[in-house]
Amino acid sequence: MPAGFSALDFYYILPELLLTGGAMVVLLLAVLTPRNDNLLLGVSLGTLVASVLSVSLFSGLDVTAARGLLAVDSFAAFFKFIVLLSAGLTMLMSAPYLRVEGLKAGEYYFLILCATLGMMFMASGVDLITLFIGLETMAVSFYILAGFLKPNPRSNEAAVKYFLLGAFSLGVLLYGMSLVYGATGTTSLQGIAVALSGQSPSMVIVLAVVLIGAGMGFKIAAVPFHMWAPDVYEGAPTPVTAFLSVGSKAASFAMLLRIFVEALPAVAADWSALFWVLAVLTMTLGNIAALTQSNLKRMLAYSSIAHAGYLLIGVVVGTERGVASMLVYLGVYLFMQLGAFAIVVAMRRSDVVGDELKDLGGLFRRSPAAAFMMLLFMLSLGGIPPTAGFMGKVWLFGAAVDAGFVWLAVIAVANSAVSLYYYLRVVVFMWMHEDAQPGSPLVFGPAMTVALGIAILGTVVFGIYPQLLFEQAQAAAGTLEGFSATVALR
């Protein structure tokens, strides 16, 4: 055992160790029994469940492990649950998709597991190096997953575009990080906060804030760093798009909160103003661009950009309540967004691509169950009571008003109203339009049924009884350090 490491350190990274081990087993099984998709799915899901269970071992703890590189706290646990759950739902909806597209399941599940591993380090890292290496692991897995449909030029385009722009944004992010290291002489978030406290922030730090903000803005697809998102979301395999819009976004928000709230409270006024502008631009442009889309995946891409704008409100507010409401919204967003994508995946059949809006025509007559589920997800994304999306928005916008960001809340509410147009357009297509493929109802396999069941459950339960989620989010936000300094500066 290396010097300075104790058995406890290895115990604290048990969820990550289990995930890595499971990923290796999946890779081996892919070679030994390449055609046994069900076994591969089973092992991958089992790995995720084991990881979830081991995360819950540490509930209530608030310590750092591995020489101060990783935090074991409620904040990390909350995001690990979100990431693992979204990975699980993605795998469940991938099973029928892989069959239809004829893709190799082994490598696919391996890459999903590795992306999840990267996300977990982004959630628990409290050192710039750990955070960066987690981000890179996630990003490289996604570059490959986006191009998994090899014969499809759209998928190739998505992979190349995501790779080139991703590499560039990573460079910008690293430049910002290196400036922070140069100014403070440490990569530890806590150390940076200590080094910067009690002195007026230098121009170097402000420049670093802008660069790191731009780098992270790319990952969460905030305007004006969103240009890649619609093309990549449209071209990538649909389950990958779902995972990209939920898992990757959640993990990036975790990293963003860790860096800005924990390490840079000294320049909170600067980054709060920066994210105010980004939030307004992101939700407005996302919603307006979504209005004119005819492709369902593209529309959901712009909708996910708009949702990143809403989520940024939590960062702008920057108080414990703001972050807690943002976590609630992320938890809610997980179920409704993955649910909507699951329906899009179910539309894909051997002879139908099914990602155009007009493919939804007359879905109500063809398969009423699918139409009702899509209706529920659309209402939730639009923020209509009694769905979970409504509760999420109420808390998030309420936190903004409470902290004095009234205009931000007003703009957000106006944006939600605009967004209803394109969410309800989906409903109009399903109910009012002519049948696109008469007499061929959607078929849900067992895996897809479970995925949709969980998504529906989350969307409904958290709409009626949101306290459950709110308590967890409150506890998670409470373990994030640096709020006192942030508030004192305002």
């Binding site: 020489r67 591993l117 050192d127 490289v140 090899k150």
Partner: protein
């Protein structure tokens, strides 16, 4: 004073060469400028007393990566007429000059690291129980930064699997 002068001269060189890389119409010239750029960055590392990093920079970037670039340039060939590829002697001379420069630089780095052996390292790892550049880096990688180091190995595995997945011919 002397160090500042050297730093700013090098910075101008690095930035100038970087601009030259992206503005030269000739791909081979562009790669050559890139080599020079990498070498200047290596010198910068020497000034920071990171001799190991400087050697790695020369070996991996100016060596390995650029060879890859040249292979791609050679294979893609970008539609130039064969006449422009002429004069192997001139190219050979350039090659000789470049390899001489690399050798000189390596020798310089090693000589420099010997002369600077007495001065204490200024890195954050002053408390580390080992001396010397490589030992210190190894010490840090296997103690403080063990977890990121291990995750990096997963990252490389992902990249390898990805390269195979994307390049494999479907049966």
């Amino acid at each position: 004073m002397a160090e500042a002068l050297a730093f700013y001269t090098l910075s101008v060189l690095i930035l100038g060469l970087a601009v030259a890389v992206i503005t030269t119409p000739n791909t081979v010239h562009s790669v050559v400028f890139l080599v020079l750029n990498f070498l200047c960055v290596a010198v910068l590392y020497v000034f920071l007393q990171a001799e190991f990093l400087a050697v790695i920079q020369v070996l991996v970037y100016a060596g390995g990566i650029v060879v890859l670039y040249l292979f791609v340039v050679m294979l893609v060939n970008l539609g130039r007429s064969p006449e422009e590829h002429q004069d192997p002697r001139r190219l050979g001379l350039i090659g000789l000059g470049l390899s001489g420069a690399v050798l000189l630089e390596l020798a310089g780095i090693i000589a420099y690291s010997y002369t600077r052996e007495q001065s204490p390292p200024v890195t954050a790892a002053q408390a580390s129980p080992v001396q010397g550049n490589i030992e210190e880096l190894g010490w840090l990688l296997y103690t403080d930064y063990l977890i990121p180091f291990e995750v990096a190995s997963v990252l490389l595995l992902v990249a390898m699997v990805g390269a195979i997945v994307l390049a494999r011919r479907e049966s």
